[in-house]
């Protein structure tokens, strides 16, 4: 197992290097002059040049890049212009917010899409099947920010069911003591059901928005995978032996169909990490997505670089986890590796 993990990690390193280089180049191409920004609203060209030298921006690109890499090795991701804070601190504080939202969105999506896919697979080409396809396709056809806005409009503004889209917690609740950074988990650990409820209420709309968006691929893959498995020999044997439908479908078919679904989950998760950015903007969610977007628009490149690197690293870890899960679920894969 360990060799598998190490091998996979090693294979990912060239990609990470590529990410570092590309991000560096892209952010240097961003319009805007951090030196002018730092020098202030009334700086003369000389003052701006002084700041530029102080920031090391007058050096050739190669030198700036090597400085950057050395900083990275020390865990220094630079400082943000717009918030004035070190990027590492901000990423660390904000990552749990995004992760909690994305995971919950994924859970919502799985809870709807998997049963939908299973049902559709058991009745192929029926009205139910077509409806399932249409519903999941419709979900992915809407721009994710539009879905979020409509949900806010109906559930907060019109019906008043959802709380104000002000972030992770209502103003008059305090965050639970930090253990994982996930408010849902931390509030349970601290034994504080009210904060748990408050945090959950704030999560509903954004998680729903993300969930709607990721329904389609999961539902489709579940359906396809189930279809393939349901037509296989061992299922026919199980049915012939008189096992109940439930046992056949869930215990035997689904377990075997899970593998491709899990790969899709991995893809969907990394896709959601990108869609996060828009949802966080709409719901004022203090996550790394909104952090990166604000920084990008302000030509503040340190946070953008930090964000992209973190996402790339998470993606690599995620793929690793999926490969390991594969090995656990399906011994054949492990033996082949």
């Amino acid at each position: 197992m360990m060799t598998l993990i190490i091998k996979r990690a090693a294979m990912a390193i060239p990609s990470l290097i590529g990410v570092v280089v590309v991000t560096f180049l892209l952010t240097r191409l961003l319009p805007g002059d951090p030196a002018a920004y730092f020098a202030g609203p009334a700086a003369t060209p000389q003052a701006i040049q002084e700041v530029r030298v102080k920031l090391g921006l007058d050096k050739p690109l190669i030198q700036q890049f090597s400085h950057y890499v050395v900083d990275l090795a020390h865990g220094n991701f630079g400082t943000s212009l717009t918030t004035g804070q070190p990027v590492v601190t901000e990423l660390r504080t904000r990552l749990p917010a995004s992760a909690e939202l994305t995971l919950l969105g994924l859970l919502v999506s799985i809870a709807i899409a998997v049963p939908l896919g299973i049902i559709a697979a058991t009745r192929p080409n029926s009205l139910l099947d077509h409806t399932c396809r249409i519903v999941s396709t419709a979900g992915v056809s809407l721009p994710v920010f539009f879905t979020g806005l409509i949900l806010i409009y109906f559930f907060y503004y019109w019906l008043g069911w959802a709380p104000a889209p002000l972030g992770r917690l209502d103003v008059f609740y305090l965050a639970p003591p930090q253990v994982t950074g996930f408010y849902l988990i931390d509030s349970l650990i601290a034994g504080d059901p009210q904060t748990f409820a408050a945090a959950l209420k704030q999560l509903v709309l954004p998680a729903l928005t993300l969930g709607v968006f990721s329904l389609a691929p999961i539902a489709r893959m579940t359906r396809a995978s189930m279809l393939a498995v349901l037509s296989s020999d061992f299922i026919r044997t199980a049915r012939a032996n008189g096992l109940s439908n439930w046992t056949v479908v869930i215990t035997y078919a689904f377990r075997n169909a899970m593998l491709p679904v899990i790969t899709t989950l991995g893809m969907v998760f990394s896709f959601l990490l990108g869609a996060n950015v828009l949802v966080e903007k709409v719901f004022a969610w203090p996550g790394i997505g909104s952090y990166a977007v604000e920084a990008l628009l302000a030509s503040d490149f340190a946070p953008v670089q930090g964000f992209v690197l973190t996402m790339a690293a998470m993606y690599v870890i995620l793929n690793l986890v999926i490969d390991v899960l594969y090995g656990l679920i399906d011994p054949r894969v492990r033996l082949e590796a």
């Binding site: 197992m1 319009p31 805007g32 002059d33 951090p34 002018a36 920004y37 730092f38 020098a39 202030g40 609203p41 009334a42 700086a43 003369t44 060209p45 003052a47 701006i48 002084e50 943000s80 212009l81 717009t82 918030t83 004035g84 804070q85 601190t89 901000e90 504080t93 749990p96 806005l149 806010i152 907060y156 503004y157 008043g160 104000a164 889209p165 002000l166 972030g167 103003v171 008059f172 609740y173 305090l174 965050a175 930090q178 253990v179 994982t180 950074g181 903007k281 709409v282 004022a284 203090p286 909104s290 952090y291 604000e294 628009l297 030509s299 503040d300 390991v324 090995g327 656990l328 492990r334």
Partner: protein, 541 residues
Amino acid sequence: MKRREFLKSATALTAASSLSAPAIWSRAKAQSRQETLLIVSESGPNNLDIHGVGTNVPGYEVSWNCYDRLISHEMKTLPHGTPYYDKSKFKPELAEDMSIGDMSVTFKLKKDAIFQDGTPVTANDVKWSFDRAVTVGGFPTFQMSAGSLTKPEQFVVVDEHTFRVDFAKKDRLTVPDLAVIVPCVLNSQLVKKHATEQDPWGLEYTKLNTVGSGAFKVTNWTAGSQAVLERNDNWKGGPLPKIKRVIWRMVPDAGNRRALLERGDADVSYDLPNKDFAELRSGGKLTIVSTPYSNGIQYIGMNVQHPPFDNVKVRYAVAYAIPYQKIMDAVLYGLAEPMFGAPANKPIEVAWPQPHKFYTDLAKSKQLLGEAGYGNGIQEPIQFSFDLGFAGVNEPICVLVQESLAQIGIQTMINKVPGANWRTELTKKTMPLFTNVFSGWLDYPEYFFYWCYHSGKSIFNTMDYQSSAIDGFIDGARAAAANGDAAAYDMDVKGFVDLAFTDVPRIPLYQPYVNVAMQKNISGYQYWFHRRLDYRSFEKA
């Protein structure tokens, strides 16, 4: 690998890597809604110290409320009942007495004034703070120089509670410049403890901590998310504020901010689109206060050094082509003072802002364009730029003006410039056509014109306008103000305003309003020259 073994090793791994980041939130008890003011805005401070490098405008609000200055302004009341700062009447804040001499001004500090950590405020703190302001560079130093405050030698400690500022030259703006946000007084002993070789002024420490004697202190700050300020019960700078706690939340979406206000989930916001303010006012559920910007104008600027705008007739053509009223109606919803369409026979006044005599007349505009030699219009699209940071207003203005210009034959291409890059673009002075807003903290015409029309390569002379005639008027007005020569002053002011309208390097559009929306039970809003909120005067019924 057996499943069981994997699970065991997995838990070990998770436990080892659990994050141990410091707690974000304070353990203070949540206070009741009644004593807390909840403010929502689009963006928040990036630095708690106005002397910091690259501090943004919301940072100024923190400085105003958490630090004291030697003097402040009295309030007068506008016709509509809004308290408005009185630019000519000063009141004591940290100083209890001010005596203005011929070439200096002396302040006696309040003897009981203390910093928030208990240390008494002395003249040494004042000198250290002022030295810092003129030395750190950037915006603070620039603002200090606007009142001829440039060298640490000007700041003299007479004794522990007496402080003197020596004038480098006679300047009417020196004393008012001491009441702006920049010359705030910091706890120098405390900051010096955190200063280093590379950071002699302790800027890194004050970025994250408020160390003043002011009415509020920042107890909790998550950049980009929220800032919490608590009242300093030992404040000596004025009457104790009624609000005990301010929670300032950043909500990026304007629609959300409005929804929060309407549902009563937020108390104050000043960051909404004009349309929302107009509707909220007629809706009647909230109190909306609109006050004109002191000394502020939104304008269309043209680079007068390059064709086609180097030809004054072309500039007149543009001035007659602008759809002024459409902008007032569709972009501002009436929430601005028009700066156009003054009657032809109206004499120039000694005031600024004041409206010019241009109005929308496309026929006249086409004729002027023809006279300038561009009878067939300008087919090559001209870049028409604006600051994306204020896109809510800038974009529709540009779209409407673009449409009008197209009708007289001038083709333009809209160019959105991200906020951080806007200043760079302005400095370069290469943008041919753009819209911008400028307002000065010191509400005097010669101040505005010095920064916007004088040939001295100021960043705010965005049109690269060079005119020795106007320079003469501006310099004359400043000298006359310093010497108290009212007759010469009036003549010079009329001179430069008249020239500004005759040469029209920039076309004023309107004087914007500062709009604030508050719940009905909130009172005490005051208009200040910096247009930010002063928490010290707010009350919640």
